[in-house]
Symmetry: C2
Subunit: 335 residues, 2 copies
DNA sequence: AAAATATAGGAAAACGCTTTCCTAAAAAGG
DNA sequence: CCTTTTTAGGAAAGCGTTTTCCTATATTTT
């Protein structure tokens, strides 16, 4: 059938262990022998059987990306693949392969993570925040399995994670607006309970206040994620007596709606009303004029997750680490 | 260290082979023994070592999804993850795991596919059209490796593939418009060389013609994918003497721009001008009124890819198959 | 030149399961 | 009640690498 290490050994006139040593970069094989072995590998088109390698080495060189795909149709989340690719890009450099698994249809809590860890089908795991339940966290901590969580886990557990600092994002927004001379600033965000939205508002508010510009409560709007609801909020805010000079939208969808409201009210941007938004989503490309954006580099988040994990795997004594990526301001034509 | 099949065997008072047979559903083990073994597995929290299982069985129960991630920043392609998840959903039911690999940075043509096939790290492969080069096709055909291609390969090779019928999509668009009474129809698409765009136009044109409504050449526009270019085309078309009753947009981005042009010209939809578009993209959710869409279910495309492959793996004598998914019309408020 | 050390490469065990064969006991048949 | 067939489960040989020892030769040291 397929060519094995023994075929190579025979062809090169050495033992199988020598071939193995050549493949694995042992330094105890002479240059001459090494060359002979490599020639045999070439001519026989030998590729080691990964199943046997994994078995013998007790490691798979595979990382699993655990996510909760069906939770709120996460497979439509454009960020997920970008994170995955970011992680893949660095892990593949370390010769890791990455496979995905969904834990949203576990038949008992923690089933997937349990099987992953005990089955030994991978050497490490990246857990997307959407998949991080208490059981997942508990299994990881108990087994001390190499891992990185994407998103700061709210549980108080010794987990490695990478996340974006959304408070800082709010601060960046404020800094930019202040630098441009806007002192009266409004905010349209998601529901009060929304974590990211509230973090961003927090950073924005704090920074405005620090420079002596208190944000008026009536210019801070918590809205449902629905076109008409947002639209009505926008119109109300834009036509109110206390209309702010600039509005911060917590996400692009809100920004699209706001831009539509601005246009319909025949206001001009940024003269009558300036605005900026967070996150570069696909729809940002449809906006005209191009909005100013405080972006989070989700690809980079994946990269960080991958490299944190890779470092841990290369050097197991490494302690628990966490990493926070910085948001990035992209100047547009709306401020 | 970790518990092995021998520990279970000992605990249950049987041999390792018996435990293995119980795990693998052999019918030659008595109910009593089976129960005893299962109890031992439970109490010892035994999970078989996947590396050993793969090695012994000569199969990994893993599928690799080959894609060209860096090619035109495909990691930002929101369809990719959806396809992947669709494939995952069915493969995981067959107990396959799925891992991704990128072939856009191969150091020699066909490197990835060569390693994948010869290394035996997976049992089958799904190749996204973006990753299908001649070398990939050649390697697959030569090795008769179980596979499914996403997208109809233009090469004349005996490959299994799944694809969407874009000509039919164009036909569906025409059928819908005709049913609604629109006989003068225009089209705004990508460049003439764009495969999908031309297929859609073909179906649209054919069907209109068949019902005796020839599309005027000046109402067929090939545009670059750039806001202002598209916008100018839209305005020109909307203000021309021979303005059609309905416009078919080849993608949502064009539709967004068209809608903006319609609004700025104070035309009303669908009375003054009707339109429909292809593909439900994230930005579709920002459009108001909601557009009529001829959608392609990319998740389903992944599902079909997964099940075609799974069937082949369960039944290796199965011949080469191909599958075409049907587009789906979603009625909106613009027609 | 003899003894000590370094070096290159081989033999064989190990990794943890699966699966083929085989045997002893039980069931069926006459 | 004896012979034949069926059934349940065990022994052991893989599966293809890696890795630990170990040995023979080459190299250095005294």
């Amino acid at each position: 059938m397929s060519v094995t290490i023994n075929d190579v050994a025979q062809a090169a006139g050495v033992s199988a262990s020598t071939v193995s040593k050549v493949i694995n970069g042992w330094t105890t094989i002479s240059p001459a022998t090494t060359a002979r072995v490599q020639a045999a590998i070439e001519s026989l088109h030998y590729v080691p059987n990964q199943r046997a390698v994994s078995f013998a080495k007790g490691a798979t060189k595979n990382i699993t990306f655990l996510t909760s795909i069906n939770k709120s149709q996460a497979y439509k989340n454009p960020h997920m693949f970008e994170i995955l690719c970011g992680a893949y890009s660095v892990l593949s450099k370390y010769n890791y392969t990455v496979s995905i698994t969904d834990n949203s249809s576990d038949t008992f809590p923690g089933e997937s993570i349990y099987r992953i860890i005990k089955g030994g089908a991978c050497d490490g795991i990246i857990v997307h925040g959407s998949a991080l339940t208490k059981d997942v966290a508990a299994n990881i901590v108990a087994s001390e399995f190499p891992h990185t969580i994407i998103g700061n886990p709210s549980y108080d557990t010794p987990l490695c994670w990478v996340d974006t600092n959304h408070v800082l994002g709010g601060q960046f927004a404020a800094d930019h607006l202040l630098a441009k001379g806007y002192t009266e600033v409004g905010f349209i965000g998601g529901r009060k309970s929304d974590y990211i939205s509230s973090q961003r508002l927090k950073g924005l508010r704090q920074t405005m206040l620090k420079s002596g510009n208190k944000m008026s409560t009536e210019n801070i709007i918590y809205s449902d994620h629905d076109f008409n609801t947002i639209y009505n909020h926008c119109v109300k805010l834009l036509t109110s007596k206390s209309r702010p000079q600039a509005i911060v939208c917590e996400n692009c969808f809100i920004a699209v709606v706001l831009q539509k409201a601005i246009e319909r009210l025949s206001l001009s941007t940024p003269d009558d009303i300036a605005f900026l938004t967070f996150d570069k989503y696909p729809y940002t490309s449809t906006m005209q004029p191009t909005p100013t954006i405080v972006d989070i580099d989700v690809y980079d988040l994946g990269v960080q997750a991958g490299s944190t994990l890779a470092r841990k795997l290369e050097n197991p004594k490494l302690l628990v680490q966490s990493y926070t990526t910085l948001p990035l301001l992209i100047q547009g034509a709306t401020t």
